[in-house]
């Protein structure tokens, strides 16, 4: 797969397809496998299907909803051809993904647009920010990143390296500085330099730590005080290998700082990705980007259609 020495430039679609290749082989191929040789859709087949869906981290509830829909159609004799199962699952998953509230990313704002990136420890926030900065810079935007993860050892250095890779400036202070103070500096600098996009890196925090969530709330307040309407986006990074706790994370971060979109990181590393569906179903938060590799341009905009198509083609 893609590593530092990985293959050259690839199109958007092939990248996504490659990233979900392992999901594809596990979800779709498995469905095809259990269907093989079956004449009709029976209870045993549906049980197998349930195991497959849960095995893709969709969670018990989401899986049950999908199965319920299918069971209904089977009992009303609308379908009985096992080869149709694959398409039924596909339709169901797409319907769930499309049921998010459809917030539009990148609504134009006058002045600096502030994007806060949040998440639990180790999900890939800093890496994602490097890629995100690169993406905006390529769109001819003036971008600055703010190193407000002043807690983790070497987090600032890591962001600096990513800033260089993406060719954007970084506003930083010392490790241990008050994150809100760094943010304030970054906003002041962004205003005076007429920056289009300010991307704020934050320290990883478990959503169960009230004081740390409070710190995030404070940063949000400061941003809003300095630039009305800011932060314009709060993006929650979720590790694609995360299980059902991903839902709790999304819920808790939403409660504290109002998550406007999800970035699913490390999709190239996992065989699953089902938590995406569970989050869309439960919280209606749209997935905005997907991280598909370690290179600076390995971040692509999420589209449910492309995602599902690459899963099922």
């Amino acid at each position: 797969m893609q590593t530092l020495f990985g293959p050259q430039e690839k199109g958007f679609f092939s990248k996504l397809k490659e990233a979900v290749a392992s999901t594809r082989s596990h979800l779709v191929t498995k469905i095809e496998d259990v269907v093989k040789g079956k004449k009709e859709i029976d209870a045993e087949l549906l049980d197998d299907l349930e195991a497959i869906l849960i095995g893709a981290d969709l969670g018990v509830e989401t899986s049950n909803e999908v199965l319920e829909k299918i069971r209904n159609q089977v009992s009303r004799k609308q379908i009985n051809d096992p080869t149709q199962l694959k398409f039924l699952v596909k339709d169901e998953l797409k319907r769930i993904l499309d049921s998010t509230d459809g917030r539009v990313l990148d609504k134009e704002v006058a002045g600096t647009r502030v994007i806060m990136v949040v998440g639990v420890n180790g999900v890939g926030k800093t890496t994602t920010i490097g890629k995100l900065a690169n993406l905006y810079r390529q769109k001819e935007k003036k971008v600055v990143v703010c190193a407000a993860d002043t807690f983790r050892a070497a987090a600032i250095e890591q962001l600096e390296i990513w800033g260089r890779r993406a060719g954007v400036d970084i506003i930083r202070q010392k490790t241990g500085a008050d994150p809100s103070a760094v943010l304030f500096d970054a906003i002041t600098a962004s205003k005076s330099r007429a920056i289009d996009i300010l991307i704020v890196d934050t320290a990883g925090r478990l959503h169960t730590k009230n004081n740390l969530m409070g710190e995030l709330e404070k940063m949000k307040r400061i941003a809003g005080r300095e630039i009305p309407g800011a932060p314009h986006e709060v993006l929650l990074v979720i590790d694609a290998t995360t299980g059902q706790n991903g839902l709790v994370q999304a819920r808790e971060f939403t409660r504290s700082v109002g998550v406007s979109g999800i970035i699913l990181a490390k999709l190239d590393g996992t065989a699953k990705g089902g938590i995406v569906v569970a989050i869309a179903r439960d919280l209606k938060i749209p997935i905005q980007y997907v991280g598909v590799g370690e290179k600076v341009d390995d971040l692509i905009q999420f589209s449910s259609e492309h995602y599902i198509n690459s899963l099922f083609e």
Binding site: M1, T3, L4, F5, S22, A51, I54, G55, A56, D57, G59, V60, V120, N121, G122, V123, G124, F151, R152, A153, A154, A155, E157, Q158, E160, I161, W162, T175, L206, H207, T208, K209, N210, N211, D239, T241, T242, G243, Q244, N245, G246, V248, Q249, K266, D268, G269, T270, A271, K272, G274, I275, E294
Partner: protein
Amino acid sequence: MLDQLSQKLQTIFRNLRGEGKLSPDHIEQALREIRLALLEADVNFKVVKQFIERIKVRALGQEVMESLSPSHQVIKIVRDELVETLGGTSPRLNFSAKLPSVFLIVGLQGSGKTTSTGKLARWLNRNGHRSYLVSIDVYRPAAREQLSIIAREVDVSVYAGEGVDDPLKLCREALREAGNSGYDVLLIDTAGRLHIDEQLMQELRKVKELANPSEILFVADAMTGQDAVKSAQEFHNQLGLTGVILTKLDGDARGGAALSIKTVTGQPIKFVGVGEKYDALELFHPDRLVSRILGMGDVLSLIEKAEEAIDHKKALEFEKKLRSDSFTLEDFRDQLRQMRKLGPLEQILSMLPQVGPFKELTKVKVDEKELLHIEAIINSMTPKERNHHQIINGSRRKRIARGSGTSVQQVNQLLKQYVQARKMMKQVGSGIFGKRFGRMKLPDLG
């Protein structure tokens, strides 16, 4: 979760009264609920399937014990089986005869390898070892700086290897340096990788060949989902793991991944990471994780902590005072201090099971500052005032407020609460610490 599970099981078993044995039918229904509970806790579905089979064999035909209700009995079987599965092998660390022993720390990206490496080095040094660190993660930006910074903070030496960016060379030189300087354990922090990344996996195999580690520890995020099985299996196949460090258990993930990893690798979980501070690494206790997977809270850890932190003599004295109604503000302050020794209140509350009367309590947001204020107020009283709260009149209140940097309102509030608490305790009349903690064991069975 468990309260739901208990309730469901109770409904299933309601009709069981009078029957002497757990019938297959009842067990079948109970197992369905248990299966869902485990799946929701992120235990891999294949592992769940095997596990349920074993439970079935164990549960079938068991006599219904008098002491336990059938539903509790099934839960007990599940618990015991889980503890057995997760425990079993000794979690002891292996050291080699030839110094230094090498521990290789491996895992997926973002699982917490570097932090865990630092924590483990600190733990080893506390336990009489002299450890030495090296990071061979030449890929992730600032990864090696991160380990150097952590090493400084935990006061452990690190091989920086400036200018070297070949992992094998770093390894070789760190080994030599460790040998020369008389360190007895070398911890090697490696690059995070995808388990499907053949190139990096090959590099790890070479490192293993070179350094001949006595421990290859797989660092796994407690929040991992179904994929845990595959990554653990792949790492185990490629490298032959010797143990697992389960991280980020201070969150609210149920940690079912641990069961999956243990089942597919057969290797023991040796440590758990429970916080962002470098001392937040604990030896693994299977029974506690089981309670968590089943949603029963970590009451045992809490009891242990309480036993460690609470001065027994003081607790007894306190109990006597309560009985004799001589509980003063002085005692109140003592009690506050004892409580604070347990650690941040939030952490304590999070260890309580999410059941019954505790359920609401675990959601309470505690303002640690308020506790500080309370202590400051009591500190600003004269000993006489602390022992005879009745004498605290208006002007005394003003003085106390000024002295403690609070307001008269806050002083009033504290006094009011204290009087109420006294009243309440008189009604309860029995111990807070010894007995209450004793009673808290297995609250689900209450």
